[in-house]
Symmetry: D2
Amino acid sequence: MRIKKEQIAEFNQKYENTVADELEQLGRALPGLEVSAIINKIAEFQVAIPSWALGAGGTRFGRFSFGGEPATLEQKLDDVGLLHALTQSAGAVSLHIPWDIPENYDELKQHAESHGILFDAMNSNTFQDQADAPVSYRNGSLNSNDPSVRSHAVEHNKEVIRIGEKLGSKSLTVWLADGSSFPGQLNFQKALRNTEKSLAEIYEAMPADWKLFIEYKPYEPNFYSTTIPDWGTSFALANACGERAYTLVDLGHHLPNTNIEQIVATLMMKGKLGGFHFNDSKYGDDDLTVGSIRPYALFLIFNELVYGMEHNTGNPHPAWMIDASHNIKDPLEDLIQSLEAILLAYAQALLVDRNSLEEAQQTYDVTACQEILQQAYRTDVRPLLRAARLQSGAAIHPLKYYRELGVREHLIRERGANSRASGL
Amino acid sequence: MRIKKEQIAEFNQKYENTVADELEQLGRALPGLEVSAIINKIAEFQVAIPSWALGAGGTRFGRFSFGGEPATLEQKLDDVGLLHALTQSAGAVSLHIPWDIPENYDELKQHAESHGILFDAMNSNTFQDQADAPVSYRNGSLNSNDPSVRSHAVEHNKEVIRIGEKLGSKSLTVWLADGSSFPGQLNFQKALRNTEKSLAEIYEAMPADWKLFIEYKPYEPNFYSTTIPDWGTSFALANACGERAYTLVDLGHHLPNTNIEQIVATLMMKGKLGGFHFNDSKYGDDDLTVGSIRPYALFLIFNELVYGMEHNTGNPHPAWMIDASHNIKDPLEDLIQSLEAILLAYAQALLVDRNSLEEAQQTYDVTACQEILQQAYRTDVRPLLRAARLQSGAAIHPLKYYRELGVREHLIRERGANSRASGL
Amino acid sequence: MRIKKEQIAEFNQKYENTVADELEQLGRALPGLEVSAIINKIAEFQVAIPSWALGAGGTRFGRFSFGGEPATLEQKLDDVGLLHALTQSAGAVSLHIPWDIPENYDELKQHAESHGILFDAMNSNTFQDQADAPVSYRNGSLNSNDPSVRSHAVEHNKEVIRIGEKLGSKSLTVWLADGSSFPGQLNFQKALRNTEKSLAEIYEAMPADWKLFIEYKPYEPNFYSTTIPDWGTSFALANACGERAYTLVDLGHHLPNTNIEQIVATLMMKGKLGGFHFNDSKYGDDDLTVGSIRPYALFLIFNELVYGMEHNTGNPHPAWMIDASHNIKDPLEDLIQSLEAILLAYAQALLVDRNSLEEAQQTYDVTACQEILQQAYRTDVRPLLRAARLQSGAAIHPLKYYRELGVREHLIRERGANSRASGL
Amino acid sequence: MRIKKEQIAEFNQKYENTVADELEQLGRALPGLEVSAIINKIAEFQVAIPSWALGAGGTRFGRFSFGGEPATLEQKLDDVGLLHALTQSAGAVSLHIPWDIPENYDELKQHAESHGILFDAMNSNTFQDQADAPVSYRNGSLNSNDPSVRSHAVEHNKEVIRIGEKLGSKSLTVWLADGSSFPGQLNFQKALRNTEKSLAEIYEAMPADWKLFIEYKPYEPNFYSTTIPDWGTSFALANACGERAYTLVDLGHHLPNTNIEQIVATLMMKGKLGGFHFNDSKYGDDDLTVGSIRPYALFLIFNELVYGMEHNTGNPHPAWMIDASHNIKDPLEDLIQSLEAILLAYAQALLVDRNSLEEAQQTYDVTACQEILQQAYRTDVRPLLRAARLQSGAAIHPLKYYRELGVREHLIRERGANSRASGL
C-alpha cells in the first residue's frame, strides 16, 4: 500500500484554512516569533525508524501479535514509506543485521528511494546467537576474554559496516548486552579493556566518512552489571577510539531519576553526542511511545539539544531515531504518536526566549528562568506542526488520516493477520 | 502591605480585551466546551497555604535568607492575604502548632477575615522537641512504647484541636517523623500498634464535625523505616480510627517511580482521600514548586481527582494545600507559580472528553486513550485561568503584577532584610 | 536419574567429623544457643520449587538453552526430586496451569510421592493467550470490563483449583499481569472493582480448606500501571474476599528502596501474610538467585518472619517458594544456591537474641540494637545447615555432590541437549 | 580523657586466649590462608575521621543533641584520639575549613601527634555563607558566572591548601553543592566550564606533592541538577586538571541501584580513584553507619578495591575517610561500628580466592564465581580483626571497652551536656 501525494493534498484541503487561522493567532500571541523559520526547522527534522519497530514487541512473559506486520525487508521499507508519506518526518530507516540482510542491494536502494527514505545508522547484533553460529554470545561478545568469541563479534560488526556501505549508510550503532547477572561473574577491568580493544578494531574498519555510535545501558538483559553502563564509560570508550566515535543516548537507558538533559549538555559541549534514541519510560527501559510519560523532561532535553546545535559547532548533527517497542498499540500508530511528541518538544524548545533566559540566569532570577521555559512549554505548538506538514506535503493530521484510510486493514488484507516481523 | 481590589481592577484593564479574544479562540477550537462552567470551577478552586511556607526554606547544609519574611503570625496571614488578593485562589491558611499559637483569637480571626482567609487543616508537630519539654521526641512520638512520650504527643495533638476549634478549623493533619534509622532499632509491630492507639485517642478527641488526615512518607528524617510509610498503612490506620479519618497524599512522599494517580484513584474509590499536599520533586521529598518537574504527572493526578470528585460521592472534597519549601526563590513568587501550575492541571483535567475516553477504554483503543488525554493536556488553558481570575477579581497576571507592585521590596522595607519566619 | 539415600550417606561420611567439630566450636562461641532446636527448625524448613524454574529462563532479548531440561511434567518432578534428595529442603512443587496439566493424576501423585514431594500452591496463568482460546488476555483478564474475558479468566482459575484438588494442593496463587502501559488506557477504579469481583468468585469456588494468595507487582509486563501494584491493594482485596484470602509477597515485586521487611511485619501483624516468593534483584524483578545481591536484606526479612511466626498466631504458616529465573546458570545449581541462602538467612534470624533486642529497643540503645542483629548475621551459620542436612539425610555439601555426581551430564544424556521445558 | 595503652592491654588480657583459639580454628577451616599476612594488612588499614563527624548530625527537620560533644578543634582531636586508641584504625583526621581553622599550628600538630594522628585530606566549604562574607554562595561557587563569586571560592580553596600545608596534609577534597533546583536556572555548559576553570586554578595552587580529590553527587542540597553529578563528570574534570587530580567516591552519592563497585573498578583501571568516603544508605545520601544497610555491597566494593590495589599500580593508595552523620547514635559509638564494618569487608575481600575466581570467570562457571565470593563473605572474619587489634595494641572489643570505660559519661562531665560541635 502506498499513499499518494494527491491523496494527502486532498485530505489537507479540509484543514488548510484552520491552519492558517491558528498560525495567525499564534503570531499575534507571540509577536517576536519568527514563525516561518521555526516552521522550516520543524519541516526539516527527520527521525529514523528502526526496521524492528514495525512489528509488535513483546516482553519475557509473552507477545500479542498485531495483524499485517511486515514479513520482509521490503515490507518494512513500505511501512516506513507509509509513515514518511503521512508525516514527512520519517525519511530514514535504521537496519538491524542479521534481521535485515538485503538480497539485492540495488533493488533495495531503489525501493527505499521510491519512498524517499535514506539508510541511517546500521545496527549490529551480538546479543543473540544465530543458528549454526560457531560461538555463542551467552557470556559476552565484544567484552569477551575468549579471542574466538571476541573476533567473531568484531567480524560481525565489520560485516554490518560492509552491508551499510553498499546501502549508503554512514554510521554504525553498537549496543552491547554484555555484562553479568551475578557478582563475581565478570572481571570488570578485563571486560572493559576487551571492549575498548574490540571497538577500536571496529572503528578502524570503518570508512573514513563513517561514525561509530556507542550506546550505554545500566541493566537488562544482564541484571547485575553492564560493561558500558553509563555515559561516562561510553564517553571514555569513544575518546579511546578516535574522533569519529561518539556516545549514543537512549532515553530509556538510565537509572531512576537521572538528569538526562544534563548528560546531553555535557556531551554536546564535549562534541561527543553522536546519536539519540527516543522513547519514554516510567520504570526502566520500558520503550513506550515518546512523550507518553514525561513530556516535560523531553522538552528539557530538546532545550539542551537546540542550545547545543546552535552553540556546539564541534558536535555533529545527532542521528535521531525512535527506539520503542509496540506491545499494545498498532506499531504505525505508535510511531505517528512518537513523531508528534518529538516535533512538539522540538517546537517548544525552539520557542524558548534564549536571550531572556540568559539574562535571568545571569541575575539569578530563578522564578523568571522557570517562567521562560514554561512559557514555551505551555504554548500550544500544534499549529506550527500542522503548518510544517502542510508545507512539506505531509498530512496535517497524520493519525486521523491513517485511520480514515484504513491503513492497518489494508495491510492485513495484503499480508495476512499472522504475518510476523523479524526482530524481538 | 495590602493590595486593593481597585488596584487589581486597574491592572487588569490592560489585559481584559486579550482575555476575551483568547477565550473566543479557545471556544472556536473546542466547540463542545462548556467554557463558563469550567471557568467557574477554576475560579472556585481554593488551595490552603501553610503558615511555614512563607519564609525561606533550607536543607541540612544551610539556609539562605530572603528579606521581608513574616516574623509574626499576623504577618504570615498578611502574606497569604497578598497571595489571595493577587490570585483569589489562596483563600485559606493552614497553621502549624507550636509555631503559630495565637495570642488573641478574636483579633486573629478578624485579621484573617479582613483578608478573606479561612483556617484550614491544623498541623501538629511531634518531630521536634520544644524548649523545656518534659519528654523528647528523639525516639518517636505517637509510635512510642514509652507511655509518657506517647501521651505527651497525644496531648499535644489534642491541644492543636482545641486551638483549631477556636479558629474555625475543621480538620487535623498528622504527619509523623516516627520511624527508625537503623535495622533493629524499632519493633515494627509495636510501633504500628502504638500509632494506631494514639491516633484513635486523637480521633476520639475531635469534635463531631472534624476530620483527621493521616499523612504517609517512606523516609526522611528517618532513613531506614517510617512507621507510616505508604498509603496502605495510612489507609489501614484510617479504617481503624473511624469514618472521619482519611489518608492524606503528599506528592513528594513516595518511592521512585510510584504511580501516584493510581493511589489517588484507589483512595477515592474507597472514600478515603481526605487531604492533598502539592509540590514537585525529582529525587525525593524535594518540595519544589508545583509543576516545575513533572507537570504531566500532575495532570494525570488531577485527571483522577476530577473523575473521583464526579463519581465518588462517598469521598469528601479533599483539603488542598501547597507543601513546598522555598530554598532559592522568593516564597511568594514560588507560591504564585505553584498556584498557576495547580490550576492549569485542574483546567486540563476538566477538558478531558470523558465520554470518548470511556468508549476508547471499552474498545481497547489505546492509541485513542492517549490522544484524548494529550488533546486536553496540549491545549493552552492559560486563557481559562485568566478569565477565571478576571471573574473573581484576581490579577490576570499575578506574578507580573506582584513584580510591578514591588511587593517584596515593600515587605523588606516594612519588616527588614533579616526578619525570619518561624518554621523549618 | 535418582540419587539414593545410601549414595548420600556415603558422600556425607567424609564430612561428618568436620560437621561435629564445627558445631562444637559454634556451641562454645555462643554458649546460650539451643543448637539442637535450631538445627531441627532448619531441617524442617521446606521450600516449594515452581515447575517452571527447572528450565533456562530468558529475557525479551533472547534465551540461551541449557541442556537436559525437563520436557515433561514427570521430568520436572524428577528434577525437584533430585533437589530434594540433595537438600531435603525442597519437598514440594508448585504447578503452573496450563503448562503442567496432568494426564494421569494417580500416576503423577505416586510419582511425586516416590520423591517425597507434595503439591504446594497451584498457579494460574491469565497473562498469556493459549492457542485456540476464544478470548485474549491482551487487554486484561480478571480486571476486564468485558464479561466474556473476565468469566473466561475466572473459569480458568476454577479449573486450576479442580486440578489442584485432585493433587492434594491446598492453595491457589493468583498473579495478574493486568494493568496498562499508557496513561488513560485503563479506568483504574473499574479495573480494581472488576478484579475484586473476580477474586471473590474464585474465592467462593475454593474448597473450605483452601487458601487464596494474591500477589502484587508494581510493573512489568505492563509499564504504566498494574491493577494490583502494592501490598496495600492486595491487602484490601484479601480483606474483601474473606478470611482465607491472603497477600503474597514476592521479593522482586517492589519499587526501588522499598523496606520489604516492614511490609512483612505489618502483614503478619494483620494475619494476612499467606505466601512468599524468594529471589533477589538489583534493579527490578530481576529474578536472580536468592541472596546473591542483598543477603542482609534477606536476613532482615527473615528476622521479621521469625518474629511473626512466634508472635502472630493468627497468621498461617506462610507458603514458601523460590521464584527465580535461571538465564545464565544451570537451573538446579541455581536452586541449590537459593536454598542455601534461604536457610542461612533463616538460621541467622533464629540466632537473634530477642530478649536483648527488646531491651535495647526499650531503652533506645540504637547502637546495641544494631550490634545484636549484626552479631547474628556475622556468625558463620553454615555449620548449622550442615548439621541439619546430616540429620535429615541430605548431602552435607549439596552443590559439591551435585557436581561430583555429574547430574547435569546425566540429564543431558537422558534427555538430550535440546530438550526444552515449558514455561517462560 | 585519654585511654592509656596499659588500660587497653589490661582489658585485652581477658580475651587473648579466645582470640588465639578462634584464629587457630579459622586457620584449620581455611588451610591455605596466609593468616598473618592478612592480619598485618588489617592492622595497617587506617581510615580518616572527619572533624565534623564527632558531634550529633541533623536533618532539615531538626537535630537532637548528644552530650559531651567536642566544642573546640582540640577536643575534636581528642575524640579522634580516643577512637584511635580503641581501634588503632583511625590514625588520621580530616579537617574542614572554616569550621576548623587552627589558632596555633605548632600546638595543634603536637596535640595530634600525642594521639598518633595525622592530618589527612583538607576539606573546603563553599556551600555555606560565612558571616560577613562579601559574596554569597547561594547561587553557586566554583561554577559561578560571576567572577567575584568564583574567585572568592577559588581563593577560599587556596587558603585551605595553605592551612593544610602547615599541618602536613597532602591533599584537598572539593565537594561542591553547586547546581540548580529548577529547570532553566543554570546554563549547564557554562556552569561546567566555570567549574573546570576554577578547579584548574586550585590545582595550580597546590604544592607539587599534593593531590586534588573531586567529589561528585547527583542531588542535595540542590534538587534538580548538580554541576558534578556523577563519576563521568568528575573523571573528565580530573583529566582536565592534571595528573594529580582524582575522582573521589562517596558511597552515598549515587542514584538508586547504581553499581558502585563497577565505578570503583573503572576508576582504578584508569588510575583515577583518589579518595573514598564510607557510609551507608537505603534511600539517598542518608549518611548511616557503614555496613548497616548493605554490607554485601560494601564487600563487593572492597573486592574491587583489593583487586585494584594489587593490579593498578598507576592508581595511588586511596585516601579513606568515614563520612557519616550521627543523628541518633553516640557519634563515637557510631564511628566504632563503622570502622568495624570497613575492616570486616576488607578482611572478607582479602579472603577471596582470586586464582579460583579468575579460573571460574574464564570458564564461564557463574555458579562457582558466586560460590567463591560467598565463601569469603560468609566466613566469620571477626577473629582476624581481633587478632589485628591485639597485635596493634587496640582494644580487642572496642565498643565493649568504650562502654565499660564510660567514655561518653566522662566527656559529658568534662564538656557539659550542651556542648556543641561546629559543623552541620
